[in-house]
């Protein structure tokens, strides 16, 4: 008897690694997200909380002049209106971005999975009810509906998160439902029932495991997009109170300073460039990571 040298799990991991090695873009994506994760972890070291500041997420005023000051050794990225330190805001804003992205996507995933699974597996009346509910939410433009929710709940970071969850889950529910409708036709589902599996077991062990990949890819692509939407809401003034460490907020502060004057039109470039770069790279990173996930996970794309 010759035992297998490696277990299937290790074989699979090796396959994933070779897959990642082959595409430079996915490496970039992973590096970018890893970079941001490191920044988020090292916030207190990279941008120490100034003395006298209680909440690290609430920016300190370094003066009350409304004119932004260009980068200097004290304020690496310069200061925004009312002398908020842009560097500090960008660094601590990374945590906010991760928090928004991950909580919203996790919320979407959970609601979408439950609704989509129930609708897809049990079809009939339950399907009709749940799917019409998702249609109702889909009938409104997402950002507008989110704005409406936020204005009802009062502007704050939490209401942005909640609003984006309420608006975002229908697309997940629909994707998971259609995947389940496809998978539940498969013979192995019937075979699983025929050996005496319960519904719960059939769903979790046989159906979901074969239909979850598109959702995982979607989730990682969405994390970036969610941060964009949150930034948009924040920019419109529906986010946390002024001075909160949030990239949308930082851009919002620079709204009046895009154009300086005729002699020096881009004099205030630092106010919007730095937060803009942070948002741009973060979203790009998640998109590349999503593509990497698709390359790795999507069984229709893999060729052995």
């Amino acid at each position: 008897m010759k035992a297998r040298t490696e277990s299937p799990t290790i074989k699979e991991l090796k396959f994933i690694l070779t897959r990642i090695k082959k595409s430079p873009l996915s490496i970039i994506g992973i590096v970018v997200i890893a970079f941001f994760a490191a920044v988020a972890l090292l916030c207190p070291i990279l941008a120490p909380v100034p003395e006298g500041q209680e909440d690290p997420y609430v920016l300190t005023h370094f003066g009350w002049t409304s004119e932004p000051q260009p980068p200097s050794p004290e304020h690496l990225f310069g200061t925004a209106q009312w002398q908020y330190d842009i560097f500090y805001g960008c660094i601590w804003g990374t945590r906010t971005a991760f928090r928004i992205g991950i909580i919203v996507v996790a919320g979407n995933l959970i609601i979408g999975l439950i609704v989509g699974t129930l609708a897809g597996y049990y079809s009939g009346v339950i399907d009709e009810l749940l799917m019409r509910l998702t249609d109702i939410i889909w009938a409104f433009p997402g950002l507008l509906l989110a704005m409406a929710f936020v204005s009802v709940m009062g502007p704050s970071l939490d209401s942005i998160v909640l609003a984006l969850i309420l608006v975002g889950w229908p697309s997940y529910a629909r994707v998971i439902r259609s995947e389940i409708l496809r998978v539940k036709q498969e013979d192995y589902v019937e075979a699983a029932k025929a050996i005496g599996c319960s519904d719960l077991r059939v769903i979790t062990r046989h159906i979901l495991i074969n239909s979850i990949y598109p959702i995982i890819i979607m989730a990682s692509l969405d994390t970036g997009a969610i941060v964009l939407s949150a930034a948009a809401l924040s920019f419109l003034g529906l986010g946390p109170p002024t001075g909160y460490a949030d990239w949308g907020q930082m851009i919002s502060l620079s709204r009046g300073f895009i154009y300086k004057n005729a002699q020096d039109p881009l004099g205030y470039w630092f106010t919007w460039t730095y937060p803009g770069i942070f948002i741009f790279t973060f979203v790009l990173g998640w998109n590349l990571l999503g593509d990497a996930f698709r390359d790795i996970l999507d069984p229709t794309l893999r060729r052995r």
Binding site: M1, Y188, E190, A191, A194, G196, R205, N210, P299
Partner: protein
């Protein structure tokens, strides 16, 4: 085999009606089917595509897919001490019966295996669902042996394991504390023993399926198996809990002829070893001649003729059976097909469903549905030609 055991009834399908509620209308897929399976026999269920063979077998395991509905009828299964009606059982009871008393082999072996699990995991699932107690008992025996040999420290660990396995053996349902325990890293190492026991059992099963080198196959995924191998694994899964009734839904249709012959031989041998009863669904009359004791011919949702295999080939009585046998292509003989085509079952022909295509149709055939008549002992025909 003794006569008394052979003639005992195992399954009795009485007046089964199954309808499919589609957008186009109600499809009367099964229109009053009666079937009787005796213990230890192989009954062939033949008929052309869409005549309700598969639906009949799915009804027996009570898994008719929606929009199909079992309208009425009884499916009686003889248990050890009593007879139960499968259509009146609760879901939980059915789950226990499926796999343990009745199991099924599907047409497409690759489709019937979940692509993300290895062979051990798939076959093991059936074992875990129905034979957990037995496996735990074996683990406990092994532990008992280890405890007697171990030193103090190890003995303590083994005793803890013993407690866990005793609990596992005695809880039939899911237990929250056990499933929580299995999620804790390092502590869940205790599962290794059960896993080993499952592997041993799967190897044993695969050996009976005549799979060469079963240890190698254990960790393979379905896509790594050949068609014949996959079908052997599926059969292993179906037979893992020694079911008394095996529903084989065209298990050799998708395989090439040599593999088909091997699988047929395997089924035949296994049947003799395990003394189980087989309902063999097929459209291949050659296969029927090969392995079946009795044959039921289906047409348009009815069983039109049922008798032993020898009689069906020597003295077919229903016009449809006669035409079907005529339509087997033979060298040196002009090919004769049945005229017309299979009727749609949304608006099936009135009276006898075969009359529009029947060469011996009489006026009464279009008016009333014929009764089932016994023309010889054990030879039933549903046709107006044989009215008593």
């Amino acid at each position: 085999m003794e006569k008394t055991i052979e003639s005992r009834e195992l399954l009795d399908v009485k007046d089964l009606y199954v309808n499919f509620y589609t957008y186009a209308g109600v499809v009367e897929a099964i229109d009053g089917v009666n079937l009787l399976l005796k213990q230890g026999e192989t009954l062939g269920l033949v008929g052309e595509t869409g005549c309700g063979k598969s639906v009949t077998s799915l009804s027996i395991i009570v898994l008719v897919p929606p929009p199909g509905v079992i309208e009425k009828g009884d499916i009686l299964l003889q248990m050890e001490d009593r007879t139960i009606n499968l259509l009146k059982q609760k879901d939980r009871a059915l789950m226990k019966i499926r796999g343990e008393d009745i199991s099924m082999v599907f047409q497409d072996p690759r489709g019937a295996l979940n692509p993300v699990y290895t062979v051990t995991q798939q076959v093991g699932e059936a074992l875990l669902l129905h034979r957990k107690e037995e496996l735990c008992r074996r683990v406990l025996q092994e532990l008992e042996r280890d405890i007697s040999e171990a030193n103090t420290f190890k003995r303590f660990i083994y005793k803890c394991e013993k407690k866990i396995y005793e609990k596992m053996m005695n809880t039939r349902e899911r237990s929250a504390s056990l499933s929580a325990l299995s999620k804790i890293p390092f502590v869940n190492r205790y599962q290794g023993r059960l896993r080993n026991e499952i592997r041993k059992e799967v190897v044993r099963l695969l050996k009976t399926m005549r799979i060469a080198d079963p240890e190698r196959v254990l960790d393979m995924y379905p896509h790594e198996l050949s068609g014949g191998m996959a079908q052997r694994v599926v059969i292993a899964m179906a037979l893992s809990c020694d079911p008394r009734l095996l529903l084989a839904d065209e298990p050799t249709t998708n395989l090439d002829v040599t593999i088909q012959a091997q699988i047929l031989l395997l089924i035949k041998e296994l049947k003799e070893q395990m003394e189980s009863t087989i309902l063999y669904v097929t459209h291949d009359l050659g296969v029927v001649a090969e392995i079946c004791d009795r044959v039921a011919v289906m047409y348009g949702g009815n069983v039109v003729e049922i008798t032993d295999t020898f009689t069906i080939f020597k003295k077919p009585s229903h016009p449809y059976t006669q035409d079907l046998l005529e339509a087997i292509p033979r060298p040196g003989k002009e090919f004769k097909s049945i005229r017309g085509e299979v009727p749609g079952l949304i608006n099936p022909p009135k009276g006898c469903r075969y009359h529009p295509r029947c060469s011996k149709a009489m006026p009464i055939c279009a008016l009333s549905k014929p009764q089932v008549t016994q023309i010889e002992k054990g030879h039933f025909v549903m046709c107006h030609l044989y009215k008593t």
